[in-house]
Amino acid sequence: MKIKIVDLGVSNINSIHKCISFLGFDSEVVQTPNKLIDADKIIFPGVGAFSNVMKIIEKNKWNEVLKQKILKEKVSILGICLGMQLLCKESSEHEKKSGLNFFDIEVKKLSDHIDSNKFKLPHIGWNNVEIKKKSILFDGIKNGSDFYFDHSYGILDLYKNIDCVTNHQIDFASVISYNNIYGVQFHPEKSLDDGKILLKNFITKV
């Protein structure tokens, strides 16, 4: 099985790569879209600003290969943090910008919806993940487990594709899925044991 990690050059790819080898699997960090062509599983991490990263994706034509792999070949993808947000329709981060549009969901600025005098933003740290819909990613993980978050934007419309939510004054989506497409708002590679179980589930069970 060929696990490929997309490296857009703006974030910490090393941790996810090492975490996967710790679990006993080989993975390859890829910097160009043509290297995704033979992927069996795609991990799409991300830190950064949505519009800036989307520009990189469009410039290097990642979107075409991703569409081919995910929609046509039905290869499973796991978007992590900004990676999850990029799988959505659009975001208003810094400037309104279209995403990859695998999920018909909008990404919103948390500070427009949360009273950050009381609930500090960005949302950084460990928070509970509440399971709303049985998800294969959460096999062997207890409902309400803590995962590590670090983000200022999120998915607040909770009517479709939502597997798990997390609360920071309001509920936002912490896990989304649709067929072979998965997204997590937290960082499994930084969430110790439960994070490793989740990654293993994505690699072996999805």
Binding site: V10, V47, S111, K120, W126, Y148, H187, L192
Partner: protein
Amino acid sequence: MLKKRLIPKLMFKVKEINQKKYPVIVTTKNFNNVKFVGDPISQAKIFESQLTDELLLINMESLDLDKNEFLLDYYKEFSNKIFMPLTIGGGVKNIESFKKLLKNGADKVCINTAAIQNPNLISQASKIFGSQCVVVSIDFKKIDSNYFVFYKNGKINSKKLLFEWAKEIERLGAGEIVLTDIDKDGISEGLNIEVAEKISNSSKLPIIISGGCGIAQHFVDAFKNTKIEGIAAGNFFSFRDQNIHQARSQILNNGIELRK
């Protein structure tokens, strides 16, 4: 519910042993009295197993990342062995430094002197990497009745007023603030609750405070009386392995939530 965070602060200096350069953790008192106490990676392993929440790894000498490639290799090795959230600081000058650190294992980047010398770096970095990646550390000292911001490892008074600088950092787009009271550093007599309260009440950003933890009760006092999100400690966590367990249980016994 978002949990409060306990953050070991690994301040290191580089020591040359058999012509090879090694980062070694140090502890300080008022930013002086440097004592070498151990290896960052083996210490971080202990912290990882003790349920601390994040690590702050600071190159205290602010060695230039361009001229000290071995540091980047070291950070990479560190993050290959430690799976915790990691913030790296020291020697960050520009966007290129951010890129290098993120590429070699940092999840967040901490700036201090660079923020004073070039405040626009905060807004530039937050536009490129997202504000959640930009941590600004502020070292401060009380002179007469005002708190002033110091930089260059606490040596130079920037003449900026602490509370104004904290506001300015927030306006520029930082994602988090780490506050350290230079006079309380290494003294073990408690954190600066007054400053923590004032800034955490007025800022929308997560506030981390540091400097002065000596007993578990100091953590409880700070969490109970302020809206801070986390406490960073160097000496307190480094000298006795049981300190983290004691601090955690005392915090939990006081009804303050930590990660399980």
